[in-house]
């Protein structure tokens, strides 16, 4: 679980706003993930440039929250999605 990793949405995985349900979703091969606001906010930050640590720093500043806790939450969220193969890593 390294915060140096640079998470990216691989080809075939994309964010979509579901107008019917009024919800953000992540569309992936044979999988539809309904996102809460936190998850959606994290995924919006993925640019293939910044590491989890940098994204954590950025979101901690915006929400005035402890950076360690935020980064740890992002790591956990990303690990779960990586296990599902709906997230890849730019440096991998």
């Amino acid at each position: 679980m390294s915060s140096k990793r640079i998470p990216v949405l691989p080809r075939g995985v994309r964010l979509h706003f579901d107008k019917v349900r009024g919800q953000n979703v992540l569309l992936a091969p044979e999988r539809t993930l309904f996102l809460d606001d936190v998850g959606h906010r994290i995924l919006l930050e993925l640019d293939g440039q910044r590491s989890i640590a940098l994204i954590g720093q950025h979101l901690a500043a915006i929400y005035n929250a402890p950076e360690d806790a935020i980064t740890s939450d992002i790591n956990e969220f990303i690990d779960d999605l990586a296990d599902k193969r709906v997230i890849g890593f730019a440096d991998a």
Binding site: R11, D18, P29, E30, T32
Partner: protein, 368 residues
Amino acid sequence: MRDAALAPPPIAMLAELTHRCPLACPYCSNPEELIAREKELDTETWINVFRQAAEMGVLQVHISGGEPASRRDLVELVKGARDAGLYVNLITSGVGLTDARLEELDKAGVDHIQLSVQGITAKTADWIGGYEGAFARKMAVADKIAEIGFPLTLNAVMHRHNLDDLPATIELAKRLGARRIEIACVQFQGWALKNRSMLQPTREQVDDAKRVVARAREEYRGTMVFDFVPPDYYADFPKACMGGWGSTGLNVTPDGRVLPCHAAETIPSLTFQSVKDASLADIWYNGVAFSAFRGTDWLPDLCQSCDRRDVDFGGCRCQAMAVTGDATAADPVCRKSPHRHLVDEVLEAEVVPMGNKAFDYRKFPANR
């Protein structure tokens, strides 16, 4: 009319563009009665169906068949589905997809490809698919898929004649760069019933397969996702078919009939509406075939009083129909079902060493 508590909007739609297919698999999921080419919905109607689907909340469309590449307008249909706002899965045997066509499909916006394999060698695969050269063609298609960069799911249909090759099948998926593998043991409905005694795996094979999948899930964590459908005749409890009847997905046949699941036509008491006669939303929310087994109120007492009622919803309706002759019975696979003995009797009678039996292949009539 709409009972919002029971019927959320569907998430996925299976679009069976055609029943035509070059393969002749003995477990073909096409219904008993095949729809001829002249009766297939035209391009414009399909695209209209995709728009309606997206408007009512469908997020993913699974473009399938038969072999969807048998439709000359496949690229146009994919583009129509993407333009409607849908995530497009293409489910294909690979036969009929040229490099040029794959490139066009890429431009049209296919999000993900599911490629079926019938075996891990040309000998086995071509025998099972009843089409010489299919395996070589599939491997060429897989290479082009990787070159273009489509995410790939390898769809391995498993049964007695290839379940022992499961470790090598997983290796093949890895070699082809698949992100997912579906290990789908044949479900006995429709044509597969005709070949059940040839296809039903042994209990030892099933136990082995479970161990292989459990190990592989660990080994490939983070690199490949496993979707494993075990053969349910050996299960203790039924699977939650479609996640509950009329709850998450719908199926449109080549001529436009709208079904709650692809095998629903095996239930003779149900009648189905067509996209030519009613809107997709009207059929989903108000159609009698969709309300027939939606929710849990219709379940027999056995299931009503069971703590798994909201886990498996009584199991598969088509299986209840096929084995017990009653679509409203509990799935006979269930240990608690009074019909379980029928399933055990089938296993005892059919899972025996084989002589020189042959497959009853599924051929689409030549005068297409």
